[in-house]
């Protein structure tokens, strides 16, 4: 019975997602909001279940394939909140576009289930299945806009490269299984620690890390990121760029520290390469972009490189800093894409940088919120993004990688250029003559404001979230 109760949120979500599917099929054609409200209510129910059954320690269930601990509960709760907010953004966008794609909510619910499975995975099998559940739903979401050639192209690239990465990941996992003879991450860790067949484990690790790097979207496995972010409909991009990053972070923690802690010396060097390359290429290429979705895609690449820095510090404090980074990044990224959703209208996605021209005069409040989000992404104090970078850098220096911290700061400065350019365009450029009025609904304006203010609050009170992350990682490392 305890086994079942530990997966109650997942089981509820699976059941409710099927229920939403049935509601979507049988609802009255005019009652278009029914699916949205059903999906939103499902997320709220699951969120309250997670909160009510907040774990005190670590429990393993289902023969060690499922792990419930503080880290998983915290990450799942944040995933739920972010998914809920992204539903509001999506509804506004689809309503304004006049073409409501209801499958968005259903696929997003199943993707959320995949994230939860991935976050709680404690076996190579559940890591893989959770990842596939998440990816498969996202491929379909990107392809949803069937009449758009760019969306189809993006979906095709995403699918083919994603399948290749899954193949790499599986090959690495099969190597690890072949040597260790177990799929369980705890037993795998014990086997790796025994010190035998070191080179074979390292061989498996390389392929697992390639799969992981692809899902995080770090250089040189980042080629899908700009195309998918630009080609997908904005609410789908918003979804892909926020909550799944938390799941990818959890996947890295599960695989690297749960399963392969004995190889920390090896993966630290590999992560270092990936991280420096991502920060360099992400920040430099972003400068040349004129499409804001594409620019934010390259910014994602650089941010994920920064996140890896926290992991390669390989200490509980470093993991906590990386977790803080992942959470704040997901919130900031959702807000930045949310601004594009707000500006879009029936005819245009409004995803060119020029579409933001003169926003400071057209809508001072939206511009102010966007200012907060962009400053935070650039890492300007006192916003959340600054503290995320600060905590990571502190741990990197503590781990004796001072030069790495210097490189990270240097590329953040380069990155500040293109973030500040957005602000310059918003406040100091003349609005386009053909600029259409902003027609976003009141509810989505409220959600956007909450999003922006939360970034400000996280920045003013960073200790609160950081102590939660520390608690999660303490229980984890100990």
């Amino acid at each position: 019975m305890t086994e079942l109760s530990s997966v109650l949120p997942e089981a509820t979500l699976a059941g409710l997602a099927c229920l939403v599917l049935v509601i979507e099929v049988f609802r009255a054609p005019a009652n278009r909001a029914a699916t949205f409200w059903a999906a939103a209510m499902s997320v709220i129910i699951v969120l309250s279940e997670i909160a009510m059954r907040f774990p005190k320690g670590t429990t393993l269930a289902f023969n060690g394939t499922f792990r419930l601990d503080i880290m998983s509960a915290v990450l799942k709760a944040f995933v739920m909140v972010i998914v809920l907010l992204s539903f509001f953004y999506a509804r506004d966008y689809f309503e304004r576009r006049g073409r409501v794609v209801q499958e968005y909510y259903i696929l997003a619910l199943f993707a959320t289930l995949g994230m939860m499975v991935l976050i709680s995975a404690h076996s190579l099998l559940t890591v893989y299945l959770g990842l596939e559940l998440l990816s498969l739903s996202m491929y379909a979401m990107v392809a949803m806009d069937r009449d758009s050639a760019t969306a189809s192209e993006a979906a095709m690239k995403y699918f083919v490269l994603g399948a290749l990465a899954s193949g790499m990941l599986l090959y690495g996992m099969s190597m690890l299984y072949g040597v260790a003879g177990t799929l369980d991450l705890g037993q795998l860790s014990a086997q790796v620690g025994s010190g035998n067949s070191h080179i074979l484990y390292t061989f498996g690790l390389v392929f697992v890390l390639i799969g992981l790097a692809f899902k995080l979207g770090v250089v040189p496995f980042h080629m899908w990121v700009p195309d998918v972010y630009q080609g997908a409909p904005t609410p789908v991009t918003l979804f892909i760029s926020s909550a799944p990053k938390l799941a990818a972070f959890a996947m890295a923690i599960r695989l690297l520290t749960d399963g392969l802690a004995g190889l920390a010396g090896e993966w630290r060097d590999m992560l270092m390469l990936l991280s420096v390359a991502s920060m360099a290429i992400g920040n430099l290429v972003a400068i040349a972009q004129t499409n804001i979705k594409r620019m934010l895609a390259y910014s994602t690449v650089s941010h994920m490189g920064f996140l890896l820095l926290g992991l390669l510090a390989a200490s509980p404090e470093g993991y906590a800093a990386a977790m803080f980074y992942a959470i704040t990044y997901a919130v900031m990224s959702m807000g930045a894409f949310g601004a594009i959703v707000l500006l879009s209208n029936a005819t245009s996605e409004s995803d060119r940088l020029a579409d933001f021209a003169g926003l400071g005069r057209r809508s001072p409040w939206i511009a102010l919120m966007m200012l907060i989000l962009v400053f935070s992404l650039a890492g300007v104090p006192p916003f959340a993004g600054f503290w995320a970078k600060w905590f990571v850098l502190k741990e990197v220096v503590a781990a004796q990688h001072t030069w790495l911290a210097a490189v990270a700061v240097l590329f953040s400065l380069v990155g500040a250029y293109y973030y500040l350019r957005v602000i310059k365009i918003m406040y100091f450029d003349e609005p386009d003559a053909g600029a259409v009025p902003i027609t976003a609904g009141d509810d989505v304006r409220l959600v956007f404001s909450v999003n922006g203010v939360s970034v400000l609050l996280l920045g003013l009170l960073p200790g609160l979230l950081m102590s939660v992350c520390m608690a999660a990682m303490k229980s984890y490392a100990g």
């Binding site: 199943f110 076996s123 559940t126 379909a140």
Partner: protein
């Protein structure tokens, strides 16, 4: 001795067929070679006493998936010259990468750990050993959580396929049978009284 002969025969056929899948020019031939590869690997599974998996592989992959695949290949008009564009251009870089990979993987896989002496000999099971039963037991006890997730994964695949291919009814010209059946004479036939034309 006999087992080794069988193993190497199947292994050779499998490798050869797999190589042909990616090198032959005709997609239909490639699909047929894939069928051969599946048969050979199911032979290998039989050798490992995994009868259920061997039969499932033939039934599911050869019987269903590949037939479907052949249909798709035949219906698509694939332009082979376009597919091969850029082959020569990418050959140097791809070739170097492939050789490097081959050497690296080869050097690891020829390690001591993977020699025959290191692997435990198979345990021979008695004649009444039920492979399917054991598989079912493991699937529904030890691996029940992954099993359920895999079920959800298949559901998502169905939803995604329908969402991506179903055109909305208003876009199609197909008649609705339920409306056709319910039609009455009065809906279709209208009697009009036509006045006779007046002469002159």
């Amino acid at each position: 001795m006999f087992e080794q002969v069988v193993f190497y025969t199947f292994a050779a056929v499998l490798t050869l067929a797999a190589g042909m899948v990616i090198t032959v020019r005709n997609p239909v031939h490639a699909a047929l070679f894939l069928v051969l590869a599946f048969f050979a690997s199911s032979g290998l599974w039989l050798l490992l006493e995994a009868e259920f998996l061997a039969i499932a592989l033939v039934l599911v992959y050869v019987g269903a998936v590949m037939v479907l695949f052949l249909f798709v290949v035949m219906m698509l008009d694939i332009n082979l010259t376009v597919l091969r564009e850029g082959f020569a251009r990418y050959l140097p870089i791809a070739g170097i990468a492939a050789v490097l990979m081959f050497v690296a993987v080869g050097s690891v896989l020829t390690q001591e750990k993977f020699t025959l002496a290191k692997t435990a000999a198979e345990v021979a099971h008695p004649a009444d050993y039920n492979n399917t039963r054991e598989l079912g037991l493991a699937l529904y006890t030890q691996y029940v959580w992954p099993f359920e997730i895999a079920a959800v994964l298949l559901l998502v695949a169905i939803i995604a396929a329908i969402a991506l291919t179903l055109r909305h009814t208003r876009q199609t010209k197909a008649p609705k049978p339920e409306k056709q059946v319910a039609v009455r004479r009065e809906d279709r036939v209208r009697l009009v009284k036509v006045e006779a034309e007046r002469q002159g």
